[in-house]
Amino acid sequence: MSLRTMTLRTRLSAAAVGAVFAVGAAALPAHAASGEPGAAALTAAKAKVTDGLTDRLSTLTELQTRLAGAKDVPDAARGTLTSLLSSDISGLTALKTKVAGETTVAAVRADGKAMVDDFRVYLLVAPKVHLTHALAAENDAAAKLTKVHDALAERLAKDPAADTQANKDLLADLTGQVKAADAAIDGKEQALLALQPGPDGKAISASVKDISAAAKTAREDLRKAVADAKKVRDAIKSTGTKGGSQG
């Protein structure tokens, strides 16, 4: 056997193997040919997105319960949030059905993106419910503190022993704190409810954090106002006690 014959056999074998690979490649499914994973990957992707949808639906149901229990939320805001929660539950439920019927990982991946970008349940919807309630509670607290201020001012006017400059200053500070709280949260509820879901998660997060920070500032102002009111109340109690023991 000559060297030339060996070379010819080797060349023929190589050609045969190449032909087999070529035929096999043509027979593979499209996703395998394009480098996409197979059925196991599709199943895994579906499971992951479906879990995400289930968790979001559960959160939305919890938010519905929380909203129902938040009695101080104004009717208009309640209506907006109720509609939002209902439409999101409908939308995510429909998406869940769509995911179940998908045949490619790419389609499931697109559904997963829609689940996040089109709804923003955690980044936006949940804060909308929580912060709307917080802002309403702070508005309510500010209104109550204004009444408390008026009542304390009247008490001081009737009680010369308690009508000191220090107590007047405390009442003035109380008024200032309530005004500051009002200013901090003015228009925030409307701004919050106007935020829309979308692909720019960072922008949504920044907007929500701004409103959350304003609510926190207002809360701190109102707590200072409460502290002022308690000091004046204690002073009135103190003079009343002294008056009682003297009289």
Binding site: V116, P127, H133, L135, E138, K144, A151, E154, K158, K209
Partner: protein, 109 residues
């Protein structure tokens, strides 16, 4: 004779006047507690609702009247006002506590 009739009429007038006076007295004492309850509740209402001029202004004007004061001491005198204030401040504390965040924004979308 005329003088007797006149004195009899005078006596009758006195009796009638006394009866009228005692009638007022009895009806007054008879209605003290409901009237007191009514005043008490009505004086509590302004303190609870607005706490503004009406209730305390009324108390200041009524100060010389011991009856009014006695009635008010049940609910709207200093201790009553202050307990109402305590309740309002407690309500504010509750509202602010409920406003505390229970959920932080989730970056997971």
């Amino acid at each position: 004779m005329k003088s007797r009739i006149a004195s009899a009429l005078a006596v009758l007038a006195c009796v009638a006047a006394l009866a009228a006076c005692s009638g007022k007295g009895s009806s007054g004492s008879g209605t003290t507690s409901p009237a007191g309850a009514g005043v008490s509740s009505s004086s509590t209402a302004p303190a609870g609702t607005t706490g503004t001029g009406t209730g305390t202004g009324g108390a200041a004007n009524a100060a010389p009247s011991t009856d009014t004061r006695a009635v008010r001491s049940g609910s709207a005198e200093p201790d009553g006002d202050l307990s109402s204030l305590d309740q309002q401040l407690s309500a504010v504390d509750g509202a602010l506590s409920s406003a505390e965040p229970t959920h932080t924004a989730d970056d997971n979308g």
